[in-house]
């Protein structure tokens, strides 16, 4: 492609969010600083900076600041794709995240905390661990040694290493089909989706890796097993922390990991809710297209999640870096950013009220084309009868 007519500086000037991207790690630094201030000063409510930011501040800021749906010209995107500035933001993120995680574990492991202080730290670190799965996601799609190892390291605190394998080789292949543990079905509440996706993803990751290793004539229990490699990062990190600070730290590690994983799964819940790829005559599913992902262009959540909400382009070009993901007018759009949608997901009746009419409209009133929860199918089809 012809790139001669844009210099790097001109290309950079096209990215309206350029100087906001480092806020990806900036936000987690600020959140942790506020939580630490809360602990040092005795203003315990500040220690809940993590959940307050994710559930309250980011959704409100999304509403206040609004959207950016601009796409730089294609030639500019090619230049930005290779601009190391963007990569470095994700590398620094992982370093910051690890430092904060180990730092807070040190406090929890050595200091006398009240019950509320413990809850403050565990919820804030849980949120940060959940958000770091998103950074691991960005890194895990890249085919370089540095980035794939940083992805596994970023998944260590939250003990979600299998995501590294399942997401690429499982979710991207089966997205928006009933077989995908990471695509939510219409009529499936978040609380039903959560155990299905957690169990299904671990099982899927293990099968994918076992099959891949078998093809290469290797046993599943081998150092080449990428699920085991990623889990080993957790074993190393958690093992060292427990060795140094004692088993008393274990509940903290487990609770923050559960909070982090459930935060990520709430985002997964929103990404493909009710959307379905049609089956072709030969039995294969049609290719994944922009209409198979829910998108959103609210700026704050997009900065927070490295453009994850430009999700249709992510599925069309999974190795494309976050800065070059594009907005598509034809992609279905959520009413607000993923952060606000997470809060909605926790209250299924509210979620259904907001989202079910959107799925219905997306399929022009014909829910037979949607991904329906088997147990809710009859009820949904009688509630919203398909056109004759």
């Amino acid at each position: 492609m012809d790139t001669a007519d844009f210099t790097l500086a001109q290309a950079r000037a096209h990215d309206r969010k350029r100087w906001l991207w480092p806020m990806g790690f900036g936000i987690i630094l600020i959140v942790a600083a506020v939580a630490l201030t809360g602990w040092l000063t005795g203003l315990t409510p500040l220690m809940f900076a993590g959940p307050i930011t994710v559930y309250l501040l980011v959704p409100l800021l999304d509403l206040a600041i609004g959207k950016d749906s601009t796409n730089p010209p294609e030639r500019v995107l090619d230049i930005l794709e290779d601009d190391p500035f963007y990569r470095y933001s994700t590398y620094i993120y992982v370093l910051v995240q690890m430092a904060l995680f180990i730092g807070v574990c040190t406090i929890v492991g050595t200091q006398d905390l009240t019950g509320w202080q413990w809850l403050g730290f565990v919820s804030t670190i849980g949120m940060l661990s959940g958000i770091s799965i998103n950074t691991a996601h960005e890194l895990g799609h890249k085919n370089t040694v540095v980035e794939s190892w940083l992805a596994k390291i970023a998944l260590a605190p939250v003990a979600y290493g299998h995501f590294y394998v399942e997401h690429n080789y499982g979710h991207h292949r089966r997205v928006a089909t009933p077989e995908d543990p990471a695509s939510a079905r219409m009529g499936e509440s978040f609380w039903a989706f959560l155990p299905r996706t957690v169990v299904g993803s671990v099982r899927s990751a293990w099968h994918i890796e076992a099959r891949r290793l078998a093809r290469r004539g290797r046993p599943v229990w081998s150092l080449h097993n990428e699920v085991l490699q990623a889990w080993a990062m957790t074993a190393l990190l958690w093992g060292t922390l427990l060795l140094v600070f004692g088993l008393a730290l274990l509940p903290f590690l487990i609770v923050q990991a559960m909070l982090g994983a459930s935060l990520l799964e709430a985002v997964n819940y929103a990404e493909h809710y009710g959307l379905l790829r049609a089956r072709r005559a030969d039995g294969r599913y049609e290719r994944c297209r922009p209409e198979h992902s829910w998108n959103n262009d609210h700026i704050v959540t997009n900065i927070f999640l490295f453009h994850l909400q430009r999700h249709s382009d992510h599925h069309a070009h999974p190795t494309r870096r976050y800065q070059s993901l594009r907005h598509f007018d034809e992609a279905p759009e959520l009413p607000t950013g993923y952060a606000g949608m997470i809060v909605l997901a926790y209250f299924p009746p509210l979620w259904y009220r907001v989202m079910d009419p959107r799925v219905l409209a997306h399929y022009q009133g014909d829910l037979r084309r949607a991904n329906l929860q088997p147990g809710a199918r009859a009820r949904l089809l009688s509630q919203y009868p398909p056109p004759a």
Binding site: H172, R173, D282, R284, R287, R289
Partner: protein
């Protein structure tokens, strides 16, 4: 005849087999597949395929 694999989802294209359902005849070389063809499983573009070593 070579095999090509999608680096995103692991789908394999075997030149010897082609993909008759997609109108790609057996024996179609990778370079002869249209540039706008995408991975049938995950939708990734041709650029995201790598040649596999044949065991």
């Amino acid at each position: 005849m070579k095999k090509w694999q999608c680096i995103v989802c692991g789908f394999e294209y075997d030149e010897a087999e082609g993909m008759p359902d997609e109108g790609i005849e057996p024996g179609t070389k990778w370079e002869d597949i249209p540039d706008d063809w995408t991975c049938p499983d995950c939708g990734a573009p041709k650029d995201d395929f790598e040649m596999m070593e044949v065991d």
